[in-house]
Symmetry: C2
Subunit: 407 residues, 2 copies
């Protein structure tokens, strides 16, 4: 990726973005790690968002959908430890109160403030603690806090997930930063993939929202840790224009979109690789099907198959499970032309050719599957549409993490 000049700073790398996080006791039984954070832009930013399709969308999701419709925003309040989901009218009122309070302290309107929550479902937010925390965070906001708020939003994540780089457009240099959290449904009874993107480019809201949808369909929507779509999944993008560089020409829009897609793919891969209990990232390429929908179905079914996930955990080149998952994916294809191969940085091995299993070197397969990142290639020779899905293996630790009692 020579196009991107990677830089430090994460979510606050783009010009004019600041952040801060503190511990306020939402996760009362955990050690005192930050559980509430603010991301702030010095100037009002064009915004775009993508949200969970779960019918039990949490209060903050309902609220953020409204804010995206206004087309602009200037701050995001984020808490972990409580998802504010299944909390009824009071839950939504609380979200609005938090936005109002954050706006007051930052000198903004309430509807310039997004609110994102992740944590236990069905419990009301500890409002007093949170309102006090907002007041305490505001004076600490700093452009140096990108990496630290990427850590603050972690729950069962084992590594912070962030990325930032510079990109040359016709009008000059812009910066893009991103951070995300999520590794399954996180804390028991919890939800959520939260992802944030910032940029100092100047771009129209309409173009931005269209780009975000397209990029999310290729990345976050092709990622599966356990097949459970949370009540709180949320991706927000703020473009504050402070670089003074406009994204307007066809070529710049293409470049900028590619950057958004790249960042989304990278973050999705990071989340899948850090899936709860995961020991392997699984990347599935379903190639050369007749429709994009078929390619997506196959890639997601293989990446999501519990049986195949267990096989990868066991480092077993169990290609029968790959084709079985493709077979029940609902995709249309001819079964007699498929090639299947497994790959990692240790090498590549063909396991199926033209729909029939191959005798392969089990030792070589074992060496390949010892690596952390495993690539599965399915070639259907039945069209030109391709899709990629991201998943992880299913391990004892996944069961342990999610079988543990909530309290």
């Amino acid at each position: 990726m020579d196009t991107y000049r990677f830089i430090e700073g994460g979510i606050t790398a783009p010009k004019g973005f600041k952040a801060g996080a503190i511990y306020c006791g939402i996760k009362s039984k955990k050690k005192e790690k930050p559980d509430i954070a603010i991301l702030y832009s010095e100037e009002k930013a064009v915004c775009a968002g993508m949200f969970t399709t779960n019918k039990f969308a949490a209060a903050p999701i309902i609220y953020c959908r409204e804010i995206v419709k206004t087309g602009s925003a200037q701050a995001i309040l984020i808490n972990s430890g409580n998802a504010n989901a299944a909390t009824g009218t009071l839950g939504l009122e609380n979200t609005r109160k938090l936005a109002q309070c954050t706006g007051d302290h930052l000198g903004l309107q309430a509807d310039d403030v997004f609110v994102c929550s992740t944590g236990v479902i069905g419990v009301q937010l500890p409002m007093e603690k949170m309102l006090n925390a907002v007041k305490d965070i505001v004076p600490t906001l700093s452009a140096d806090n990108g990496p630290s708020i990427a850590r603050a939003i972690m729950t069962t994540d084992t590594v912070p997930k962030e990325i930032s780089f510079e990109l040359e457009l016709s009008g000059g240099t812009i910066r893009i930063g991103s951070m995300a959290k999520g590794s399954g449904m996180i804390h028991p009874n919890m939800a959520t993939m939260l992802a944030f993107v910032t940029t100092d480019a100047s771009i129209s809201q309409e173009v931005l929202q269209g780009m975000l949808k397209k990029a999310v369909d290729k990345s976050y929507n092709m990622m599966t840790v356990d097949g459970d779509t949370s009540t709180n999944d949320c991706l927000l993008l703020l473009a504050n224009g402070m670089s003074g560089v406009e994204v307007k020409s066809e070529e710049d829009i293409k470049k900028f979109y590619e950057a958004i897609e790249y960042i989304s793919m990278e973050m999705a891969k990071k989340i899948a690789a850090d899936g709860e209990g995961a020991s392997h990232l699984i990347v599935v390429h379903a190639n050369n099907l007749q429709t994009q929908d078929d390619a997506r179905k196959v890639a997601r079914a293989v990446a999501g198959s519990n049986l195949f996930k267990c096989a990868i955990f066991g480092q077993d080149a169990n290609w029968g499970r790959v084709i079985s998952a493709a077979g029940y994916s609902g995709a249309e294809f001819e079964t007699g032309k498929i090639d299947v191969a497994l790959e990692s940085k240790a090498g590549k091995i063909d396991v199926m050719l033209e729909g029939a299993g191959l005798a392969f070197d089990e030792e070589k397969a074992a060496t390949i599957l010892k690596e952390k990142d495993i690539y599965v290639h399915l070639d259907f020779h039945d069209g030109e549409e391709c899709a990629t899905a991201f998943g992880c293996d299913l391990t004892y630790d996944y069961v342990k993490i999610n079988g543990d009692y909530r309290s």
Copy 2:
């Protein structure tokens, strides 16, 4: 179930059915437990069948679909250890050869013989061993062997699954027997739920096939161990008429259908309860939705949620995961009217009322969730359609069984 007089005998309880099984070495690396079996009817039987929808249907599935179309059959050859799936033209030829050989030894036409296989995918059948085995089994066929062939078809199943009873119809007493195997995808790289039903009732093929489809939709198709639809799933029903009792009047057809539905539900429940590594059976009732499709979607999503399955393993009343799964099931419903309760023989506890979480007695919940069979009740108060799904918890042992190397 006063309607049914339970009897011994299993699959060979109905008049005129005989069975036999031996070890022939298909599973060469396992201890010598029977791996090939024959079920035989003294008279030609009307037949019905339901098969996997997986696009990679195995050779025996392709073959059995043809036989069902003939409307009658008299024997079923069953092997474990090799699924004869992804084996191309040779695989299908081998299935036909086995049918021919079985027919020859039993004095039947090849197309009176079903062939069912379960086991490793992508490896050709050891034909010589199997052809010899057929010859050896035929002289051992006996009406007493029902329970022993229910054991012979077990793989990672921990208990044999069989049921048999008598039913009074207007023309006299008939018997129905059933056996099944399946607990996930069984042996690594393996497939398959296989289920068989026999009856000595006399009934038209058309009526029988219609009944079977309807019963399977309510039972086997509502059962999920790991979401992986195998390449070899197969349910066959033989009705040989040897009781001399016809199922013809509307009332008798109704009674007989209810018996087929009952037996299918019971067997589905047994399979789910014996799911790979399972410590709990999970029965999900989705009640009072607007359409049957919605009710089925909700019940299956909840029973299939990895997160909820882990919670039940951990004996955690994690109702957030129940509604989250309902929310992403794709079903249409109002979120504000839902009641959720958890139940076992130790009692019942309400955890959600009218869409909002309840403060409940955690101790009572823990006592309820200690039991083996857990019932989840969702009432949507939004229609009259109800559906039930059967699943099991997700445990360390599931991962262990499916992460183990194939050989």
